[in-house]
């Protein structure tokens, strides 16, 4: 057997921070054979991206240092290369695709120029030749009208197209190794699927090796040959891709596999990593009842009261134009939407970004002023109520946002954040009482009361989302809009938060509108699912029906985009 293309041996990466030295990568080793795809899986902060940057020699110096380890590429230790040698490798022999296509392209240069730049660095070709090659590459990565698109600037392209440009740039010099760092995470599911297929195709076509980094085991199934699982800076499992779904050894891997909601049958609560191992990484025995598949259909109706009724709702934003910036037209973000929602139920809204689902959610809460149509809540028309009435309504209706980083005021402590709604509405007689209410809920969402006086930045993304949930529930609302509330989280955390939402729904008899771009998540949590496209709900049905009998082509497209990898999983095999 030939030696692997890339061989990482005993790599250690450390960072100098204000608090001291932290070890981001702890003595890891793995190989990438020529022409193979290796998936590196782990949650954020597990050290997977740092590993890739170490291979590329792109770690931020002097903050980062590599006290130990070797990275052999074609038999040479890259860590011993100087900067100019590394430049020969970068973009030429090893190239990389990053997570954020929005920010990873230089906004001020034409896309084809950016692709051509890579070529011109490493190949002695004329400007014209490089450009032509760039157009050709754009064609290969499936950008429509490559000759014209070549002249576009990044902001004139969609996220998916930008990621294709990034891929074209990466394969421009036909590298031996392509590193893809979460290349699909920022994309909508449908796009994600296309990009994965493209990467797979190119990898075959160019006979490249690929290092595919993701937090979602699900997406890896289709393309990876081998999988390396990283957890807390260490490699915990290396396995063949086919086998890892059936015979995962490490409890963390098992957890990762189990935590992704599947279309159709799921346990009543999603399994999480913590079901498989305790905090110290020691494997736990999972109780049988946790894995019993639960069928929502069989659950009897909790109530039949209609809590929310939306009729012909239209929300539009003005389009400014003309000499004095008058409103010349309107953009209908929500266009004639009607539905009803019963008490205690969850309505899932699913669709790609820009379909109007977020605006719909905010219009219902009157955070965005609806244009026409009506919203009635508990039988009362709330479309045009104002001031005091609206303020009182806020006690009953709440929202949980997508971004756990920007939805908490960074200058307030958690206790301030949690008691603020109580202050506003005069709930609780004293500060102490309000504090104890905050504390109670804080513990209920799974956090320690001792952390109440901390600031948001001291918490992880998942914890922050729990805090957001706690804030939304402080006023004991009846109705909560969860706006992409789990989309920004790693799958393993996502499962925990989904479980929490379900627990809380049960405890507080909440009614949810759950907005997501991920049909599998919606399918898991919602009783009824509305598929949105172009500001309208194009299909609405019971969650299982949507999955089983999609009527609209668009729904089918959404469904087919869900990574199939996970379906290989045999749940019982995990136990």
């Amino acid at each position: 057997m030939t030696s692997p293309l890339l061989s990482v041996k005993n790599l250690v990466v450390e960072f100098q921070t204000g608090e001291g030295i932290t070890r981001a990568v702890n003595n890891i080793s793995f190989d990438i054979p020529a022409g193979k795809t290796i998936g590196i899986v782990g949650e954020s902060g597990s050290g997977k991206s740092v590993t890739s940057l170490a291979v590329m020699g792109l770690l931020q110096r002097p903050a980062a240092r590599i006290p130990q380890g070797e990275v052999f590429f074609n038999g040479q230790d890259l860590l011993k290369f100087d900067e100019s040698q590394m430049r020969e490798i970068r973009g030429n022999q090893i190239s990389m695709i990053f997570q954020e296509p929005m920010t990873s392209l230089n906004p001020v240069f034409k896309v084809a120029d950016q692709i051509a730049e890579t070529i011109r660095i490493h190949k002695s070709v004329s400007k014209k030749e490089a450009w032509d090659r760039a157009v050709d590459l754009m064609n290969q990565v499936g950008i429509p009208n490559p000759a014209q698109s070549a002249h576009k600037y990044p902001h004139e392209m969609s996220g998916g197209q930008k990621q294709r440009v990034m891929i074209a740039m990466a394969i421009a010099c036909e590298p031996k190794l392509l590193i893809a760092d979460e290349p699909t995470t920022a994309l909508d599911v449908t796009i994600q699927k296309q990009v994965l297929d493209l990467l797979h195709k190119l990898q075959q076509q160019y006979q490249m090796s690929m290092m595919f980094i993701t937090h979602d085991l699900g997406v890896i199934g289709d393309i990876a040959d081998d999988v390396v699982v990283m957890y807390r800076s260490n490699v915990v499992e290396k396995n063949n891709a086919d086998e890892i779904f059936t015979t995962a050894k490490h409890p963390y891997t098992k957890g990762l596999l189990a935590c992704r909601p599947k279309l159709g049958a799921n346990p009543r609560r999603l399994l999480t990593v913590s079901d498989f191992m305790d905090e110290n990484g020691v494997e736990k025995h999972i109780s049988a009842e946790r894995v019993v598949v639960f069928d929502k259909e069989q659950e009897k109706e909790k109530s039949s009261d209609i809590l929310l009724e939306v009729k012909n709702l239209v929300t539009h934003f003005p389009i400014k134009g003309g000499l004095f910036g008058r409103t010349v037209d309107h953009f209908r973000a929500v266009n004639d939407v009607s539905f009803t929602l019963k008490k205690g139920k969850t309505l899932g809204l699913v669709g790609e970004s820009g379909c109007g689902k977020t605006t719909l959610g905010r219009s219902i809460l009157r955070l965005v002023e609806p244009g026409s149509g009506s919203i009635s809540y508990g039988g009362k028309d709330i479309t045009h109520i104002y001031a005091e009435e609206l303020r009182l309504l806020r006690r009953k209706m709440q929202i949980i946002f997508q971004d756990p980083y920007s939805s908490l005021n960074p200058r307030m402590t958690i206790s301030e954040i949690l008691t603020e709604p109580l202050n506003i509405h005069g709930v609780g007689n004293s500060r102490a009482e309000r504090l104890s209410m905050a504390k109670e809920l804080f513990e209920k969402v799974g956090l320690k009361a001792s952390q109440l006086n901390r600031y948001p930045h001291e918490f992880s993304g998942g914890q922050r989302q729990r805090i957001s949930i706690a804030r939304a529930l402080m006023l004991r609302p009846e109705f909560v809009v969860c706006d992409e509330s789990v989309s920004a989280l790693d799958v393993s955390i996502q499962a925990q938060v989904l479980n929490l939402l379900l627990d809380l729904q049960e405890e507080f008899h909440l009614t949810y509108i759950f907005i997501s771009h991920d049909l599998s998540v919606v399918n898991f949590i919602a009783d009824e699912v509305g598929v949105m496209n172009g500001g309208k709900i194009i299909e609405m049905d019971k969650a299982n029906n949507i999955y089983k009998n999609p009527k609209e082509a668009y729904t089918r497209a959404l469904l087919s985009a869900i990574p199939k990898g996970i379906t290989k999983a045999n749940l019982s095999a995990l136990l």
Partner: protein, 311 residues
Amino acid sequence: MIKYVIRRLLYLIPVLLGVSFIIFVLFNLVSGDPTAVLLGKNATARQMAELREQLGLNKPLLEQYFDVVRSAFTFNFGTSWATKQDISQMIVQGAYPSLCLTLPAFVFATILSLVISLVAAFYRGKGIDLFVRIMCIAGVSVSALAYILFFQYFFAYKLGWFEISGFEYGFPDFVPYVALPAIIFVLLSLGPDVRFFRTVILDEIYQDYVRTARAKGLTEIVVLLKHVLRNALIPIITYVVIQIPSLILGALLLENFFSIPGLGGITLNALNSSDFPVIKAMAILSSVLYILLSLLTDVLYTFADPRVKLK
């Protein structure tokens, strides 16, 4: 784009009305009677009254305000009260020496600052970065007056490298006269310029696309000069262009000490002789220039950044 330009030009109207109003309040309402100063030490009460009438200071206030507004929109500033010179001509004549001093100094300071900032950004966090920054800040921490007094004495008088004072028209005749004040100008600009440019460049250096550029195998210098600089251009353009109106006003102290007959001295003289029409003209001109230049920056943005569309 054209619509945008027209709209921005129309914005001149409210701004000029505002500027006229501030000037009117300052000079027609609040400030004292200029006639005594204008007539000199032997002024009589009767002559002062006559002059007041002649200068239109007895007109109703509203009418006086309209006069200010009119001159703002017609650019007809009339003649100076104190020197009886035609104001437009004074400004045209004074702008030349002022610009001879400030423009090369400004261009040089900007380029030098940019180079220094790039060097500092290249060596960010290292000793050389710190050293350059501190030197620039130290340079700007000395009062302009102290620089002038010392440099004039030492470089112009003791060493005789430069002319002590004066000005001559035409290149390169003016060079020996403006060189020393220009050096002081540069010294005083480096600090704030470098601070600003360096921050802007560092803001960009940590962007994702820079990592992409590095991943392509570009050298750090190309990354800086091509990718980073181009993106940092927008704030830099704003910062640079907006300073231009004050260049035309000249460097007041420098002009006075080095006897450069520029607009700074004209403004100062006008203030010292209650020559309100000149002050008004200077204020109005510089605000028109300010608006035009902010428009120019907007137009430059579209070249620097394809994302910017003027609507």
